[in-house]
């Protein structure tokens, strides 16, 4: 297997790279990013340092092993030493495999794309994570599992600003790479990111549960530890989630528009007892985005007292749950409609880019974030731990239009083989249809190099 190496840059940068590569992985990213961002237009372009590619080649050749919600839940239900250790090893091998596929995606982008500071930053971040995890030896006892868990925890936190960075980078390179290609790239990356964070967070949650003694259940909380297997809530109550998301969206809008604004009511109809197993933060994000869009549209288009309510319908079938969100917010205007699901296209690109620049600050101050008071302590505990990157998005002020809510919600919806569609009645309102598989027996939707190269 011939090793292909990226071209060697100029001498001065070479010594700089050597210095960077000598640093421990945790310091590498910061060093690279500080160099990359201080360059000015007179110096030559400064892509991430090259590394021999045979290591990555090995990992790219491996296939990712997708898993279903049901398998995840079942596996975590009864924990023993061996199970925990075997889970740790699954994660230990899956993570580098999945990152490797994405790193190769980065590497096959045009060279000039990698010189973009945001793309370069994320690439470096991923590469360092890859290096760290792949070097972890086989885990044989609980102690090594603990060490492994702290590595995971650190990486999860370090990677919090990835989404806004990626979004900015993709917006900046779309002329070089092409808008469609950028959309595809972004979708693949986000999907893979969800999968990696999921298995990492799940493992951390399981380890924690294994270690902690059983808490006596508080009388006031509606859900107990038993209802959760790691981050999977076995019985997400649709009505409950919708009402909670409505409440938090309402508060956010009130904060932005002032307490005098009349917020439309959210009315829930249909099969009100519906439950299904899902990752709570995922479903809250999707429904939160949809409700926030609807509420904002109604407030902005139909301002004034007695705004028409937003009707949410829960429809339960044997294999799916469909949630329909209908609003009378005036619909989506024709100039945006074709670009609704794109990360890069559309007439509002420049404003998006500007707004995205303000989001990394939010992600960094995640720990001081105000979570919705409607959540019980139990649920807050589960959501907050292990760096939930979604919460910074969920609680951003509504006037910070990122233009990403719908495409991201779609990726989350499709992650467990669900779907998200929108129909607009221009001049009247919108209907969003979210379909979720109810049995949890669908595998994750991943894109590996094998499936891509086969096309």
């Amino acid at each position: 297997m011939a090793t292909t190496q990226l071209a060697r840059p100029a001498r001065s940068t070479r010594s700089l790279y050597k210095h960077i590569l000598r640093l421990p992985p945790s310091a590498r990213v910061l060093a690279y990013s500080s160099v990359a961002t201080t360059r000015n237009h007179d110096t030559t372009t400064f892509p991430p340092p090259w590394r021999p590619s045979h290591v990555l080649d090995e990992w790219v050749m491996r296939d990712a092993r997708p898993i279903s919600l049901r398998q995840l839940g079942f596996f975590g239900r009864t924990l023993t030493d061996e199970r925990l250790i075997s889970a740790a090893n699954y994660v230990r091998l899956e993570l580098p495999t999945r990152i490797a596929h994405r790193l190769r995606d980065f590497q096959t982008l045009p060279y000039s794309a990698l010189t973009n500071e945001h793309i370069g930053y994320v690439y470096e971040l991923y590469y360092s994570a890859f290096e760290r995890v792949r070097k972890v030896p086989e885990i044989r006892d609980l102690e090594s599992n603990e060490r492994f868990c702290s590595v995971l925890d650190h990486i999860l936190n370090e990677h919090l600003p990835v989404i806004p960075r990626l979004a900015m980078g993709v917006l900046e390179i779309k002329d070089v790479v092409g808008a469609d290609e950028c959309d595809r790239f972004m979708t693949m990356l986000l999907r893979s990111r969800i999968s990696r964070r999921l298995i990492a967070q799940q493992h951390l949650a399981l380890t924690e549960r294994f270690n902690a003694p059983r808490q006596p259940t508080k009388a006031s909380s509606s859900t107990t530890d038993d209802d959760y297997v790691g981050h999977i809530l076995l019985k997400c109550n649709a009505k409950d989630i919708i009402e909670r998301c409505a409440e938090s969206s309402k508060q956010l809008v009130e904060k932005a528009y002032g307490p005098d604004v009349s917020i439309p009511k959210v009315v829930v109809q249909g099969h009100l007892d519906t439950t299904f197993p899902y990752i709570l933060s995922h479903i809250e994000y999707i429904i939160g985005e949809l409700l926030r869009n609807s509420i904002q549209a109604v407030v902005e288009q139909r301002g004034g007292p007695n705004p028409p309510p937003i009707e949410v319908l829960i429809c339960e079938a044997a294999q799916h749950v469909i949630i329909r969100v209908s609003d009378q917010g005036g619909g989506v205007s024709q100039d945006i409609l074709p670009y609704l699901w794109s990360f890069t296209k559309g007439p509002r690109r420049d404003r998006r880019l500007q707004n995205l620049g303000q989001v990394p600050k939010l992600a960094a101050t995640m720990h001081e974030l105000q979570m919705s008071p409607a959540l019980s302590d139990q649920q807050q505990h589960h959501a907050e731990k292990h760096g939930s990157s979604l919460s910074s998005f969920v609680s951003r002020p509504p006037n910070l239009r990122l233009g990403m809510g719908l495409p991201m919600a779609k990726i989350y919806a499709e992650y467990w083989a669900g779907s998200l569609e929108l129909h607009s009645l221009e001049g009247y309102g919108c209907d969003a249809f979210l379909q979720i598989s109810r049995l949890g027996n669908k595998n994750e939707v991943l894109t590996t190099r094998a499936s891509m190269d086969a096309i």
């Binding site: 079938a317 799916h320 329909r324 024709q334 009645l425 221009e426």
Partner: protein, 459 residues
């Protein structure tokens, strides 16, 4: 297709059909060379503006001749393309008597138009004869869909469902355009002054009340009244068949009007309401009204006003030869085919933001099951089992009746279970001028159907 819908009692075609002259239309033999020659001409992309650009009736002699020549310029190539498409089907399929009959009809129609082709119509007498030929064409092809459906059903062993779907998608869209231009010319002809005096027998034909019509286009078509009409029609069938009658509740902006072809929209709405009503009844939810929301696009009223001024000042000019060529498949999609128009015309091609109306039909009929959902847009081909097909193919009285129902459009026959052509055909009509149909099923609850329609472009 002659629709027997309520709003069209005064269809101009009735007047012409009764004329004895119809039986003696002049023909000229069609050779393969002729077909090839006409088929090599590019297809003219049809827009609503094309239909209206000759002016409001009654037309002057000059405008009438202009309309005749425009129609003459596009009919032969359209017919030739259809003949070629049919000839591209497998031999054994075209050999089927029903399919063969349709093929023969097209060749015959081309033979009646050929005497006028590649020449200009300069006199009123020629125009009358030409219009007769066009009327005969419309008459001949009025039951094409039913006959083709039967033919394909009989030949189902020799052709795949996908081939049928692809062929029919193209063919039916082309048919819509051809009939439209033909019927439009006939309507303009009949309502124009020079002929009213010459034919005293035509007293049965009266122009529809109000001056909102330009031929078959109603520039102020009120969506809500059309919906009520269809509600009544379908409701009566339901009462006859099931004993109960669901109702329709209209919300949104019922006063909305749009410039469009009433015949088409009536067909689509009838099909959609048929589906909703039947599902509602079979789910036992007939007390729940079917909810219809009418949502106009913002600048809709502007467009109607623009259309009024445009047609008044339209001057007949040379028929533009600079026609953007369009493929068979795309001819039904106006965005793709909106090319440079006649420079004398004041109506510009449709822009992306052409205003129109979106109609959402929401029912509680239990939804569409996932396996049926995949076959929704097939031409009824694969949703039947062998027994049902045998029954239809053997042409038992009931079977043929059902077929006539589909081609007859709204108001015909008493059966609700047709051959499954309603949805795909409805979509063809909706898409023809840049609209569309989207179906969203909530299995276990109901169905939402979104019908979007575009009107004439604004100036």
């Amino acid at each position: 297709m002659i629709s027997r819908g309520a709003g069209l009692r005064h269809h101009p075609l009735r007047a012409l059909v009764t004329r004895p002259a119809l039986r003696h239309v002049q023909t000229k033999a069609v050779t393969d060379g002729d077909i090839a020659r006409f088929a090599s001409q590019p297809l003219h992309p049809l827009t609503l503006a094309d239909l209206c650009k000759h002016g409001r009736p009654p037309l002057s002699e000059e405008s009438l001749l202009h309309s005749a020549n425009f129609t003459l310029s596009i009919l032969p190539s359209r017919l030739a393309h259809r003949i070629q498409s049919l000839r591209n089907l497998p031999y054994i399929v075209v050999a089927n008597p029903n399919v063969n009959k349709i093929h023969g009809n097209y060749v015959h129609s081309l033979s009646t138009i050929m005497p006028y082709a590649e020449k200009r119509i300069e006199t009123l007498e020629d125009e009358v004869k030409f219009t007769d030929a066009v009327a005969e064409l419309v008459q001949t092809h009025s039951n094409t869909i039913a006959v083709l459906a039967k033919g394909f059903l009989e030949a189902r062993k020799y052709i795949s469902a996908k081939q049928v779907t692809d062929f029919l998608d193209e063919h039916l869209r082309a048919r819509i355009g051809t009939r439209l231009i033909a019927e439009q010319h006939i309507a303009l002809h009949v309502s124009s002054q020079p002929h009213k005096e010459a034919n005293k027998n035509d007293s049965q034909y009266h122009a529809p009340d109000g001056s909102t019509y330009i031929g078959v286009v109603d520039t102020a078509l009120k969506a809500a009244s059309l919906i009520r009409t269809c509600e009544n029609t379908v409701g009566e069938i339901c009462e006859l068949k099931y004993g109960v009658r669901p109702t329709v509740k209209i919300i949104g902006q019922p006063e909305t009007t749009i410039a469009h072809v009433p015949m088409h929209i009536e067909y689509v709405l009838t099909e959609l309401l048929k589906n909703s009503f039947r599902a509602t009844i079979e789910a036992g939810m007939e007390r729940e009204p079917v909810e219809v929301t009418i949502a106009p696009s913002a600048s809709e009223t502007q467009a109607a006003a623009a259309l009024n001024t445009a047609t008044e000042s339209a001057k007949p000019g040379k028929v533009s030869k600079k026609l953007a060529a369009v493929s068979n498949r795309d001819q039904g999609f106006v965005d793709l085919s909106a090319g440079p128009n006649d420079t004398n015309s004041n109506i510009r091609p449709l822009a992306q933001s052409t205003p129109g109306v979106t109609i959402r039909i929401r029912d509680r009929g239990g939804g569409i099951s996932p396996d049926v959902y995949d076959k929704l847009w097939n031409y009824g081909f694969t949703t039947f089992n062998e027994d049902e097909i045998q029954e239809k193919v053997s042409g038992g009285g009931q079977g043929v009746m059902a077929l006539d129902v589909i081609s007859g459009g709204a108001g015909g026959g008493s059966s609700l279970a047709g051959l499954g052509y309603g949805l795909p055909l409805g979509r063809a009509y909706a898409e023809y001028f840049g609209g569309g149909i989207a179906v969203q099923s909530l299995w276990g609850w109901g169905t939402d159907v979104y019908l979007s329609l575009r009107g004439v472009g604004k100036i």
